[in-house]
Symmetry: C2
Amino acid sequence: MANLVPQGELGIQSIGDFRTEAGGTIEDAFIAYQRWGELKVTDDGTSNVLLIEHALTGDSDVAEWWKGLVGPGMALDTDRFCVLCTNVLGGCSGSVGPASRHPDGDHWGSRFPAISIRDQVKAEKTFLDAVGVERVSAVIGGSMGGARTLEWTLMYPGLVDAALVIAVSARASAWQIGIQSSQINMIENDLFWHGGDYHDTGYFPTAGLGSARKLAHLTYRGELEIDERFGSDPQAGEDPFGTFRSPKQRFSVQSYLDHQARKLVERFDAGSYVILTDSLNRHDIGRGRGGLNKALASSTVPTMVVGVDTDILYPYHQQEHLSRNLGNLLAMGKISSPVGHDAFLTEFRQMDNILRRFIMLAGPTLKTPTPEQAGEIEFYI
Amino acid sequence: MANLVPQGELGIQSIGDFRTEAGGTIEDAFIAYQRWGELKVTDDGTSNVLLIEHALTGDSDVAEWWKGLVGPGMALDTDRFCVLCTNVLGGCSGSVGPASRHPDGDHWGSRFPAISIRDQVKAEKTFLDAVGVERVSAVIGGSMGGARTLEWTLMYPGLVDAALVIAVSARASAWQIGIQSSQINMIENDLFWHGGDYHDTGYFPTAGLGSARKLAHLTYRGELEIDERFGSDPQAGEDPFGTFRSPKQRFSVQSYLDHQARKLVERFDAGSYVILTDSLNRHDIGRGRGGLNKALASSTVPTMVVGVDTDILYPYHQQEHLSRNLGNLLAMGKISSPVGHDAFLTEFRQMDNILRRFIMLAGPTLKTPTPEQAGEIEFYI
């Protein structure tokens, strides 16, 4: 019998000892989650769950980071669906991760094993079992959440009615691995990182994590959008054109990136950042499945693929690759935006339309109450 | 009377005390250079000089980094032209820079003032005066060399017959400033940087400069090209998929980037890297000229603009912007390549064609012996 926390509240669900794909063990693992809308489960195990997968530094509060897209009558309609979102395994927003307490009382730190995208999905599946959800209507996610969505369709095809995969690729590209490894190195090179065991030192690798975030942000945002906003303007009261260069005399864009770094450092654990970034490096749906295209061809879950035209981190050709090779493509969509990769979080109007279109297209396959709302769907294009 | 070193040899020319745009002084400055082909100067001061501007970590040995493009009968034909290439002001391949000795006997280090692209051009102009070259047939350069070429056409329009500007923009974009500042920070955060005064410590900020180069390289290369070569393959003998993440267990692309970092660290000074990267941040042809487009419109030098279709550092739309606004556009060219920004250094066949086309188009304006070779030019397209 399904048993979930009240709507909007943060629940923590134990999933027992977790064995990773690479042979590590996370004892007494647990997964944090939130839900919106009433859960409906039929006798044959089908449910009205829309499982939402967050991105690298996201969390289970999808009603916040997709504000306006989750609620009664909204694109992710909580009158019809139970919108469920977990914090990823290895994260720092409630689920077990490097900053959590090990059963021995100290922090996990460097003892936290490496995890793959598949581990994240397996942990989520174990979580669903624990709360009594056998199968879901759809899995939806962008970026790292898109990678998890893709793995869901291949690891548990019988348990997912449809999938929406946004701004991701079938495997990490060499360029992504390069950029992501550079970020990991920035954190490792911070003396306060302490080999990953800084949690009990009273110090935090702020500079390293901040630098990593600044670099990441430049891959999340389109250069046109950043240039429109900041150009080569100096920061107010500073002079980056002085006689001698100084880190304190910044351009406006540097101040903006410093602000992004500060915001992340305040809310995110460096250990989780490293573990999750490494899991993106390991992303490869072809591993152990005869290669990328064979794995994609074997997919049976109706899947819609969406990309962003100006994404430099997961360029649109990667989503075209997915759409050409997926065994059961539902539809292909493109977000047009100067924003780049982050557009799936910022282009509200287009995402609203994409989510509604996905729900409509997937409607016949969703084993939930038939969508009488279909006629009312309003498209904004 | 002009007086140059023998062909191919490295010459060092004093240019006296140099005053920077931002008010700094470089006492007893000097510029290194090489030349190929005989210099011809007419009584009215015109010459057969093709002045070549190298990129950030390049040097005066253009016959090496554009191998096969400089020589008798080649695209930059030394039977006809005197190909002249200086090492940039602030560099470390013979010209005065942070690693050079200050007149007081110690290294310049942090005392070396910030320089702009305009300073680099002014220093080169002073150098030309010193060796007796009054005006040049053409200025040609890519990337930072392209920025210098553009400034040449605006600072000394009467002294340049034609210009070829490759893979650059009219000013630094916010994204470039972000990426470039990130690289500067990586070096500054290396303890061995020592505030820029490491030259006498016996230590070198190897890790910081290496990290900066790895990041830079990812912006110099197209993600398609890197992915074709390395994909997500593990480095031979290493296992990036192990139970615990380790910096020693790398993907193949990480090993490749480490190799690029090692190569640069062996040949390049960290102080020069910072000074020159900062000069790219300061690049803005609109400064003091009424803005970008007014500056471009005022250009009278016949200029050919070339970009690379997959360049993420200087995206092609930036060269389109140049071509739409330049006051005297000679032609527009595009290098098609998966390589990205570096294509102007690696796509030999296309560069050969572009250089020959430029020389042909600029022919009538070049105040050199008329190009009877024009009829013999072979196009490979």
